[in-house]
């Protein structure tokens, strides 16, 4: 199903922003807030995983039911998971499209990756000491 993805700040994302290697940061920034009507259409329940495909790639996120987003829209906290699929075009403003991004979402049994697994996928080396 097609959705508009909005990214934004949450208090938990901010509280763990200096602890990017923590489980709490990964949990928060890999959450995809979705309206329950859309979850019924996709045949998924709370805390199940979805594969989200955007302009630049695919990432596995964990669904959280939310009445705060309208059907057709999903909200993902700022962070490495959302950015894994966002493109770098800025329309000559310096600012990429971090909001209202068209994405395709489907249920998946794939595991959600860790922050450093995503970084390794892009050519980085984990610092795990």
């Amino acid at each position: 199903m097609k959705f508009l993805m909005i990214t934004g700040r949450t208090v938990n994302q901010g509280a763990y922003v200096e602890r990017k290697l923590s489980a709490q940061y990964a949990d928060e920034t890999s959450t995809c807030f979705m309206h329950q009507f859309d979850m019924m259409d996709l045949g998924i329940t709370d805390r199940e995983r979805v594969q989200v495909t955007g302009p630049c790639g695919t990432v596995v996120l964990v669904i959280a039911a939310s009445e705060d987003v309208n059907p057709g829209t999903v909200f993902v906290p700022y962070g490495p998971y959302a950015n894994h699929i966002i493109g770098g075009h800025t329309h000559s403003t310096g600012m990429p499209d971090f909001k209202s991004i068209e994405v395709e979402i489907e249920a998946t049994t794939e595991q959600r990756k860790g922050v450093y697994e995503l970084m390794e996928e892009l050519g980085g080396v984990a610092y795990d000491r």
Binding site: L4, I6, T7, G8, R9, T10, V11, G14, A15, Y16, V17, E18, R19, K20, L21, C56, G57, E67, D68, V69, N70, T73, F75, Y78, G79, P80, N83, H84, I85, I86, G87, G88, H89, T90, H91, S92, T93, G94, M95, P96, D97, F98, K99, S100, V115, Y116, M119, E120, L122, G123, G124, V125, A126, Y127, R129
Partner: protein, 429 residues
């Protein structure tokens, strides 16, 4: 020991009433700060010392070796990018600008991915703003548009708006109206007197409709604009015109979405229009605690607030070309110095992919997502905890940020000054 009146180095509110309890040069308790500030003061897991990437692993190196590596990287580069700067003190930012000029690099701060579009709009039509104190004491109408202070600036509401006392308001909580405009029903929307929910990407149209209504052109408004009923638009416009003093705060809800700086320009022009009827101001909810300072420092040193390219030997500014996202996405820079920021977590994928292909040095107290792309990382003191310096609040008021503990880590300014001196030495030969 309890240290009073500490300035919180998290968001642009720079709350200056925080109390920090220190024992044996460790912060053990924090009072008055929000969740964000408290977690920063109590932050642990600092990187113990400089590290260098060694194949698929890491090895410890000395500060001297790390600084030498960073200097050589910048001297060898043809088009270095110096990025970050918003979570450090102004004194360090000054050294950064001097260094960028000397190595003929591009220097950009996090503004380009937060309120860069707001600054572009302000450069076009001006900024009818005021300090937070004026809003606290006078404003009887607050609009939060595309921002969610309960999550991003938690004490903005208690110190300056919804829950704050006001000198010229008899009963501030009762006399102040709060309107929230957003595409989703945020926590802030839940405490508003009125919530206006617009369709994603509809900000420009709704702002234009409000401008038309304020001008008296109500007949031109359709039954609904981007999901907002005509009646609600008429009511909001009336409330704005009837207010004695209105304050419009906006966030990344309008800078990051379609229209970008044109949305902000429209919002400023709405406020301009409202000033024909009453007093109204508009300001951006700045995120990093010293992102405003990075704009100030860059502007007084180069004439431009962010995205400055010294390749020509003079300061050149063209957002969309000289901004970090564009320089990385075009795979243009051949080295990157990152100071007090984490672009690997916050930049779109193509930019991060390019970071993996070039030498990167990061100056930051913590291991973060960008660490994975570093050749060298140099840990430093955290300004506001173990380093002092100057920062600018979101309303442009500079405050002295205090040091509350001694950690032994060098400050950003010390590391950058050493690097700058070494680069100067080579360049003067």
């Amino acid at each position: 020991m309890i240290v009073k009146d500490v300035v919180c180095p998290f968001c642009g509110c720079l709350c200056d009433d925080v109390e920090v309890t220190v024992e044996d040069d460790r912060v053990v308790a924090v009072d008055n700060a929000c969740t964000l500030g408290t977690s920063k003061f109590l932050g642990d897991h600092r990187l113990p010392g400089p590290i260098r990437r060694d194949g698929n692993g890491w090895k410890d190196i000395s500060y001297d070796e790390a600084i030498r590596y960073a200097v050589d990287m910048l001297l060898d580069a043809e088009r270095p990018l110096l990025y970050g700067w918003s979570s450090t003190h102004g004194e360090a930012q000054c050294v950064g600008v001097h260094m960028a000029e000397l190595v003929r690099g591009v220097i950009d701060n996090t503004t380009s991915v937060c309120h860069g579009p707001s600054i572009l709009a302000i450069q076009e039509v001006g900024h009818p703003g005021c300090t937070l104190g004026v809003v606290k004491n006078r404003a009887d109408l607050i609009i939060y548009w595309g921002c969610n202070p309960i999550d991003a600036h938690p004490r903005h509401l208690s110190r300056y708006t919804r829950y704050a006392d006001g000198f010229f308001l008899e009963n501030a909580f009762r006399d102040r109206t709060v309107i929230v405009v957003d595409v989703r029903k945020t926590e802030t929307a839940n405490i508003a007197d009125e919530f206006v929910q617009i369709r994603p990407g509809g900000d420009y149209a709704v702002l234009s409709a409000l401008r038309a209504i304020v001008r008296g052109k109500t007949d031109t408004i359709p039954r609904s604009v981007s999901g907002v009923p005509r009646e609600q638009l008429l009511r909001i416009a009336r409330r704005c015109k009837e207010a004695k003093f209105g304050a419009f705060y906006f966030g990344q809800g309008i800078t990051m979405t379609r229209g970008k700086y044109k949305n902000v320009r429209n919002a400023i022009e709405l406020v301009d229009e409202l000033n024909r009827h009453t007093k109204f101001t508009i300001s951006a909810m700045r995120g990093h605690y010293n992102v405003y300072g990075s704009n100030e420092v860059n502007t007084w040193m180069t004439g431009y607030p962010f995205g400055i390219d010294f390749a020509r030997g003079i300061a050149f500014y063209n957002p969309g070309e000289t901004t970090a996202i564009d320089v990385l996405a075009r795979r243009e820079c051949d080295a990157c110095l990152i100071v007090a920021s984490d672009p690997a977590a916050h930049f779109p994928r193509p930019c991060v992919e390019h970071l993996a292909e070039i030498p990167v040095v990061q100056i930051d107290p913590y291991a973060n997502a960008t660490t994975a792309f570093c050749n060298v990382q140099i840990p430093v003191a955290v300004t506001g905890i173990d380093a002092a310096g100057t920062a600018y609040r979101m309303d442009g008021v500079p405050l002295r940020i205090r040091k509350v503990i001694e950690s032994g880590y060098p400050s950003d300014e010390e590391i950058l000054s050493r690097m700058y001196a070494m680069i100067q030495e080579v360049r003067s030969e």
